[in-house]
């Protein structure tokens, strides 16, 4: 056998599936403006057409209950214009939300995957390392003091969150450095301890706030995608993009790193640079997420695990797949949270308004069963 058959490379093995997953994510994003509305009247395509200014004819709207405002079975020009206006509003309410969920989910899952690789610990996430708690405390202090300026698209809250996060990370490293290894349990312990300290400080800040502020802070700490416009979603990008780019570019080096520090170093990977840059960009991205959406847990822990069970350890596949899965996961969780409040409204007979279930609740409720099932499946 002189010429062995062409080997199935990772990209051939998973490239198609990755492409399918990315396409699925795009579909989720496209249909997101229409999810959860009366689909007999408004489909996602109507919402998009209204947004893009494409012609919607009067005849087309016959038989759509919400379009036919006076119920005479005929669509007048005014009724059509009203339909278009409502569809546009829907787009503006829902699409930025889905876009934000996508970015946040991608970022949290990607950072979780990278930190798990980097610390060689399945429990390492932005949360267990104290990054998120530090960021949340920083953001909370900025919120409480009323810093609302934004410079070059980065708000003071985000900057303060980043400051808090980097401070905690620095401290965690300083404490754990005695052990000399990045993968030690001391590091996680230091992270968890400092995270608890930050939580206590957040309680303190909450305690010295008035009722209105307290309500807002509590909602924010539960994690939410509320009150976002497209522009605010876009403001997260400068802080998240470095993480996406750097982590995908470093995926080959991370593969080497998975085989051990020494082997990676012997193959020409600058291990301390790799660790520093990865932790740095993850901190930046997590701080951005925390500042705008509060600490949304669970995505960074569970999604990379689920993805790794399916695609294996190769970071070149694992990282983009985690990002895609994280984005899809959070978009779906957001739908579920909207649906839950709707159902709760029907059951209780009360009008719960535009409120949605905190996304952090949904990520846990949706994520835990999936994770347990996968864990069992793997053990067999």
């Amino acid at each position: 056998m002189n010429s062995p058959a062409p080997a199935p490379t990772s990209i051939k093995r998973y490239g198609l599936r990755l492409a399918v997953a990315a396409a699925g994510l795009a579909v989720l994003l496209i249909i997101s403006p229409g999810v959860g509305v009366d689909s007999a009247s408004y489909g996602w395509w109507d919402v998009w057409r209204a947004r893009l200014g494409w012609e919607i004819s009067q005849d087309e709207l016959v038989g759509r209950p919400l379009a036919d405002l006076n119920g005479d079975g005929v669509i007048s020009a005014e009724e059509r214009d009203g339909f278009v206006a409502v569809a546009r509003t829907m787009f503006n309410l829902r699409f930025p939300r889905a876009l934000l969920a996508l970015q946040v989910g991608m970022t949290l899952a990607l950072c979780g995957a990278v930190l798990q690789v980097l610390f060689r610990n399945p429990l390492a996430t932005p949360y267990t390392l104290g990054i998120a708690s530090g960021g949340a405390l920083g953001a909370l202090i900025a919120l409480r003091l009323g810093w609302v300026v934004a410079v070059a698209g980065v708000s003071a809250i985000a900057a303060s969150a980043f400051g808090g996060a980097i401070l905690v990370v620095g401290l965690v490293f300083l404490i754990a450095r005695g052990s000399g290894r990045l993968t030690s349990n001391e590091l996680l312990l230091a992270g968890v301890t400092l995270g608890l300290f930050c939580s206590a400080m957040m309680m303190f800040v909450t305690a010295v706030s008035n009722e209105r502020e307290t309500f807002f802070i509590v909602r924010w700490m539960m994690g939410s995608l509320d009150a976002v416009r497209t522009i605010e979603g876009a403001m997260l990008l400068p802080m998240m993009l470095p993480a996406w780019i750097v982590l995908i570019l470093f995926s080959r080096s991370l593969n080497q790193y998975r085989m051990g520090d020494e082997l990676a170093a012997a193959r020409g990977v600058n291990v301390s640079l790799l660790q520093g840059v990865c932790v740095g960009v993850c901190t930046l991205a997590t701080a951005a997420v925390v500042a705008h959406c509060g600490p949304i847990g669970f995505v960074g822990l569970v999604v990379p695990h689920m993805v790794a069970l399916v695609v294996g350890s190769d970071c070149r596949i694992l990282l983009p797949a985690s990002a895609i899965a994280g984005g899809a996961f959070l978009i779906i969780c957001d739908w579920v949270s909207q649906l839950c409040m709707r159902v709760a409204g029907w059951v209780s007979g009360q009008q719960l308004g535009s409120a949605t279930l905190p996304i952090g609740v949904v990520t846990a409720v949706v994520g835990v069963p999936i994770f347990l099932v996968l864990l069992r499946a793997r053990r067999r």
Partner: protein, 265 residues
């Protein structure tokens, strides 16, 4: 080809732990670095791999100090197989071997057809081709060690350094690994340096031996010259005899002999 020139090295607690050590590794050589636990064998190997920088003296590859060679460039010439390799990630064997191509590709996320051809070649040389599509975690330690050697060879190095490659292997796999190393040295023209505790394997397969004791060179030369009962007893504190087996060439077999229950050092 790889020259260790009057190298000294130490840790904060023992600043003059290792050295002076000098040796010259030539193309086609198979060096064994032997010595008691804590003698500095692995430290010396890391210095030779460029992972540690000597405090005094220098390690040169083809006349150029490793300090002045970028790590990736160095990795294209020198492969290092550490004693412990991370096994928690479930990479496929083929991917592990392909990872050895890392220093040769600066751009692009995926390997070229050339990389695959090289990986296939080295897997054939190490008898790991039939394992190619199995996850690394499902292999026995003997098979896994051959895979790590294959990955090191996929780097297409001039120098191959291995830290106790046969430490936890059974006799069959120990022999298999050393046969591969010997073949790479004699046929492939690589310079091979292997840290080992197995004096007999070193004597049988290696052309040159460096005996370290407490960071100092206790003896250097051919196995015949180094493995004398007197030298070994002074280093290991255990009396050894050399037994020759009729019909077998080589220096014979080194066997520790009992010298009384009181002796403990």
């Amino acid at each position: 080809m790889l020259t260790v020139d009057d190298v000294h090295f130490g840790f904060s607690r023992r600043p003059d732990f290792l050295g002076p050590v000098s040796l010259d590794v030539q193309r086609g050589d198979c060096w064994a670095i032997v010595g008691p636990n804590g003698a500095g064998k692995s430290t010396l190997l890391r210095l030779m791999a460029g992972l540690l920088a000597p405090h005094r003296g220098e390690v040169r590859f083809q006349g150029k100090s490793l300090r002045r060679v970028a790590s990736r460039e160095r990795a294209r010439s020198i492969s290092f197989v550490p004693q412990q390799t991370g096994g928690e990630a479930d990479f496929l064997v083929r991917d592990v071997v392909l990872m050895g191509r890392f220093p040769h590709r600066s751009m692009g996320l995926f390997e070229s057809a050339d990389d695959h051809r090289i990986a296939n070649d080295v897997m054939e040389q190490t008898q790991t081709l039939e394992l190619a599509d199995r996850p690394l975690t499902t292999l026995s330690s003997g098979e896994a060690q051959r895979v790590h050697v294959a990955a090191a060879l996929a780097q297409q190095p001039r120098v191959l350094l291995l830290d106790e490659p046969t430490a936890s292997l059974d006799i069959q796999h120990q022999l298999a690994v050393f046969r591969i190393l010997k073949e790479q040295a004699t046929v492939g023209g690589l310079a091979v340096v292997v840290v080992t505790h197995d004096l007999n394997l070193a004597a049988r397969f290696c052309t040159r031996v460096l005996l370290l004791n407490d960071g100092k060179v206790a003896a250097i030369g051919s196995a015949e010259e180094v493995f004398t009962p007197d030298t070994l007893q002074s280093v290991y504190g255990v009396p050894l005899v050399r037994l020759t087996v009729p019909g077998q060439s080589g220096i014979g077999w080194l066997v520790p002999v009992e010298s009384g229950p009181e002796r403990s050092e």
